[in-house]
Symmetry: C2
Subunit: 141 residues, 2 copies
DNA sequence: AGTAACTGGATCTTTTTTATCTTAAATTTT
DNA sequence: AAAATTTAAGATAAAAAAGATCCAGTTACT
């Protein structure tokens, strides 16, 4: 009933990149700042890259960067890239996995709950999740 | 991000009992009707009994029975009896587990999502989940 | 007493999660 | 071109959780 550690790490990564505004950020920096085991972070980034959410630059000044603007990437996309499509029970999205599903009222509840959750996450964008720095920086200037 | 098999089994058990209207139902009957491994069902029932959701009758005509009316037991209670309090991420309910939680906006999202889910499940009662039989299909013909 | 039914703890297997290691490839700098 | 730096990709491994089963013991009906 919980997301994986990898998923949380992935979200941290994406939010961090969103805050970096298109800069190519080396893995070691992210790993250290977000407290993610570096090798594990590599795996997670690879998944997210395959899902088209971030871009990997290899070589000497390599690192990671968002592939799309942070205003256009939802939390749902990030989570589902790492967990697969969200489903709160086996039978959600796979009614054939349980022979009771055609008449099971609980099935409908799990489907509704899943949809509710996906809706919520689908309406939150990385841009909404960046920790704004102290106002003095931008507004008072 | 999914409930356990044990939790689904537990819900099946509770809904089945709700449909049995206070009768003491032997484990074997439930196991067979709901397709649950009997020994595993025993363990699940023991948990639910400790949580005060059902009553176990030992001895010769033993079995299980709801402890409270099905109109008063929510799905949330059943699920949380088996999974512990629902939390979609580690940091939900345990902000101290992550040093970012005080400023992390994602944290707030997971808390909101968790609350939404608990709300939904908390408003569904076992009585709502019983498959109503057609008028006289108990006796075929 | 005899039998049917569940308990409670231990055990066991499988799967999933989390993490790391290793060899290779890519890119920049020299 | 060579060297230095950084990630790729697949294999591996350790740890934890899930799923299931076993068995000696207890309870209650007849
Ligand atoms: S909720 Fe109903 S349909 Fe889904 S797995 Fe459980 S019993 Fe089957
Ligand atoms: S959501 Fe934020 S607070 Fe919660 S674990 Fe992830 S980083 Fe930490």
């Amino acid at each position: 009933m919980k997301i994986n550690r990898a998923t949380d790490y992935g979200v941290r990564l994406m939010v961090y990149l969103a805050a970096c505004e298109g800069r190519v950020v080396p893995r070691a920096e992210i790993a250290s700042a977000m407290e993610i085991p570096p090798e594990f972070l590599a795996k997670i980034a690879q998944h997210l890259a395959k899902a088209g959410l971030l871009e990997i630059r290899q070589g000497r000044a390599g690192g990671y960067r968002l592939k799309r603007p942070s205003q256009e990437i939802t939390l749902l996309e990030v989570v589902e890239a790492l967990e697969g499509e969200i489903a709160l029970n086996l039978c959600v999205g796979h009614p054939e996995s349980c022979r009771f599903s055609p008449t099971c009222k609980v099935h409908l509840v799990w489907e509704a709950a899943t949809e509710g959750l996906r809706d919520l996450l689908g309406n939150i964008y990385l841009a909404n999740l960046i920790e704004k720095k102290a106002k003095s920086d931008e507004e008072v200037g």
